[in-house]
Amino acid sequence: MRVVVAEDTMLTREGIVRLLGEAKVEVVAEVEDAEALMRQVRLERPDVAVVDIRMPPTHTDEGLLAAQQIRRELPGVGVLLLSHYVEPSYALRLLEERPEKVGYLLKERVFDIAILIDALRRITDGESVVDPTIVFRLLGRKRRDDPVDGLTPREREVLALVAEGLSNAAIAARLFVTARTVEAHVKQVFLKLRLDANPESHRRVLAVLAYLGAGP
């Protein structure tokens, strides 16, 4: 796997690069700002670009804008956005245009090598990755007459994993059940939440996140 890392803080960037090296992931370029990122991505065509959301010159959402541009320009390149912010709206902005091959993770998460590698692999496989903390925040949101309250504990678990972007097979592996069982759970959840989306599609992550973020 070939990866470009865009991160302006040296400590974090070096940490990520070292971790990736140990996991035998090839880092083809390290950059510090969005402009250099776009240059390297166009040049190297990596499998995934690991991008900090906040970079020079304005230190606001350059990384998010660059991620969206990469997805529009080079559909073959996946993007993993790193952030300090637990803001579902950033994740939704990243996902809403092209939900496949993108991920939004909190920075502290990526130093767990297993999580980082898992995220990169899922992104290259065309899935979405949403940080569990974001999903937790959305699921924890108080609602009036909350249909989420009508779910069984197991269905809630499945809903959270769907929101994190996991496929049915991955969910099955995580919960030690068969893919068939997961499929039934997902159907049941979509029915209870009155979600219109096809429970099998790639875009179900977006549908679930939008549902959870939409309010009471």
């Binding site: 400590l11 974090t12 230190h59 803001e87 502290e108 130093f111 949101r141 108080k142 973020g213 009471p216």
Partner: protein
């Protein structure tokens, strides 16, 4: 009031009244008695019917304008000058009236030389009646002295029988003491030279004034005055060249018509000026009454503009203890300046300038305005000035309040960024190192150390989480980057009770406005949760000039609004109110 006015007029006023009546009587008698034809003509008026009409018209209009000016400008001498000029205008008609009593003809001859000084005085003093420079006063005084010398000289020394160029009165001089034709000749020449020089000087002064005046009555008066000065100068000049004056000769007749026309024009212009001054004064007087009765602060400028018929009137109040000026609404304005047809009139109360009024020069003499704004109105002006001062201080205060809040926000944003770029990154690096250490301990088979390090990583994660919440509490980054909508949705995600969000604000607003809305919604929702509300409804909508925020909840007890929310919204010139479970706020966002 009436008694005081008469007392103010005093003896000078009575004297003036008597003089006016006498001059008027002289004028009317002339028109009624003096013949309008003679062969050969002994006056210009008797040369033809047209000449007679021009003669009477010029004299009568001078008398009429003089009377009008005497009424309108009671304290200025200009009315009496005009009336006297009108009376003296008719003097040649008496001189040339052969059937009249010799005493009358001689008396008319004596006053005759005063016509030129009177006319030139009138030109210089028009339209206000004031000779506003030392040069003008000296010039007029000199002309009167010359006229007096010539008049006395002619009375004592001129024997009409011996006058070679005699045409008008060749018989009578009852004052004659000793005929001396030679001296009379010299006196007459000197007189004519003085008149030519004086008229030219007056003409020059008038031209200079014309260049510095705007459009309006004043300009017309000055133009007519210039005509009078020119015709007087040419008439005297013509006599210097040819002493054989004769109304039948075309050049002399033409000069007479020019004199009569210019004089009539000047008299008409003065009459008009008197009318305009009267109208302005009654308007200002009405305004004065209005102001004294019911002064609506901030309305003085509009009232003055209407009264003076000058839409560009400026009213500026000096701000105490500074060189700044403010208008009635307390906004800073430039100090009114004169020039280009505009003048500035200070309004003084207790020896202190309380206002400057900038207005066009044309229709109103500056001192007239200051005079007419009486004591009662001055109180109203002072009242408006004080109100404007308070408003200006309020503007300053609002500005500084907003700046204080903004400075606070800037500091919070910087603090959030410092946390993000500093502490958060270091803590992140620490978790990285801890993980490495744990992996190393594991691979060396030190399970106890690995377990401890595992716990430390968790601790560091908790610290990171708390730091993140702290940074978010200091300043929610998403508010600045994505705006009110996403920030409020984030707020609803974290809230302790269900929060429904109806956001119609759509566009971005200034950072202080967005921050204020965020903080007040945050505060209202937290407060609703404290009062055990089961949910809150947040509505945000904006029109062109303001942002409306409503937070409604079903909490048990009536809610309150915290002081820092009031301060923040107040700093933006907005307001907050709470009616039971409904919290409303309006924030201007032009």
């Amino acid at each position: 009031m009436k008694a005081a006015a008469f007392a103010g007029v005093g003896r000078a006023g009575v004297l003036r009244l008597v003089a006016c009546l006498l001059a008027l009587a002289a004028g009317i008698t002339t028109v009624l008695l003096v013949p309008n034809s003679a062969k050969p003509p002994t006056t210009y008026g008797s040369a033809s019917g047209l000449a007679w009409a021009a003669d009477v018209l010029a004299g009568a209009s001078l008398l009429a304008a003089g009377l009008a000016l005497t009424i309108v400008r009671r304290r200025a001498w200009i009315g009496i000058v005009a009336v006297l000029a009108g009376a003296v205008w008719f003097a040649p008609d008496w001189v040339g009236w052969e059937e009249a009593a010799p005493l009358l003809r001689s008396a008319a001859m004596v006053v005759g030389p005063f016509l030129a000084p009177l006319l030139l005085h009138l030109v210089l003093a028009a339209p206000t009646g004031r000779l506003d420079s030392r040069a003008a006063r000296a010039l007029v005084a000199t002309l009167y002295v010359v006229a007096a010398v010539v008049s006395i000289g002619e009375a004592l020394l001129r024997d009409p029988f011996l006058d070679r160029y005699c045409w008008s009165n060749c018989t009578d001089n009852v004052f004659l003491v000793r005929p001396d034709q030679e001296v009379v000749r010299w006196l007459q020449t000197g007189y004519l030279l003085a008149v030519v020089a004086g008229a030219m000087a007056v003409g020059a002064l008038v031209v200079w004034r014309l260049a510095n005046t705007g459009r309006g009555v004043r300009q017309v008066v000055l133009l007519a005055g210039l005509g009078v000065a020119a015709s007087v100068a040419f008439s005297a000049g013509a006599l210097l060249l040819d002493r054989a004056e004769n109304p039948s000769v075309t050049s002399f007749a033409a000069l007479f018509f020019a004199r009569a026309a210019a004089t009539t024009a000047l008299a008409s212009a003065l009459g008009w000026a008197a009318y305009v001054a009267w109208r302005t004064r009654s308007a200002v007087a009405r305004l004065t009454v209005d102001l004294a009765e019911a002064p609506a602060p901030g309305s003085l400028r509009a009232s003055l503009a209407a009264s003076l018929g000058d839409p560009d009137v400026e009213v500026a109040y000096p701000l105490n203890g500074s060189r700044r000026f403010i208008d009635g609404a307390g906004e800073a304005v430039a100090q009114p300046t004169g020039g280009q047809g505009r003048v500035v009139t200070p309004i003084v109360r207790d020896g202190r300038e309380i206002a400057l009024v900038g207005h066009s020069r044309g229709d109103l003499a500056a001192e007239e305005l200051a005079r007419e704004i009486g004591a009662g109105a001055r109180l109203a002006v002072e009242n408006e000035r004080l109100q404007a001062e308070v408003l200006a201080q309020l503007h300053d205060l609002q500005g500084s309040r907003a700046r204080i809040v903004e400075a606070g926000d800037t500091a919070r944003r910087r603090l959030e960024r410092d946390l993000h770029d500093g502490a958060q990154q270091r803590l992140l690096a620490l978790t990285y190192d801890l993980r490495l250490a744990r992996t190393a301990a594991q691979s060396e088979g030190d399970e106890g150390l690995a377990l401890t390090l595992e716990g430390t990583v968790d601790e560091a994660h908790t610290a990171l989480e708390e730091l993140r919440e702290l940074a978010h509490g200091i300043y929610p980054t998403i508010l600045g980057e994505a705006g009110l909508g996403p920030a409020l949705r984030g707020l609803a995600d974290r809230a302790a009770i269900p929060v429904e969000l109806i956001d119609h604000s759509a566009k971005r607003h200034s950072s202080p406005v967005e921050t204020a809305v965020y903080i007040l919604v945050d505060d209202a929702v937290a407060e609703a949760a404290r009062r055990h509300a089961t949910h809150a409804l947040v509505r945000v909508r904006s029109d062109r000039s303001r942002l409306l925020v409503e937070v409604e909840d079903d909490g048990a007890v009536a809610g309150s609004v915290s002081q820092h929310v009031r301060d923040r919204v107040g700093a933006l010139g907005g307001r907050v109110e709470r009616v039971g479970g409904l919290f409303r706020s309006e924030i201007p966002c032009a």
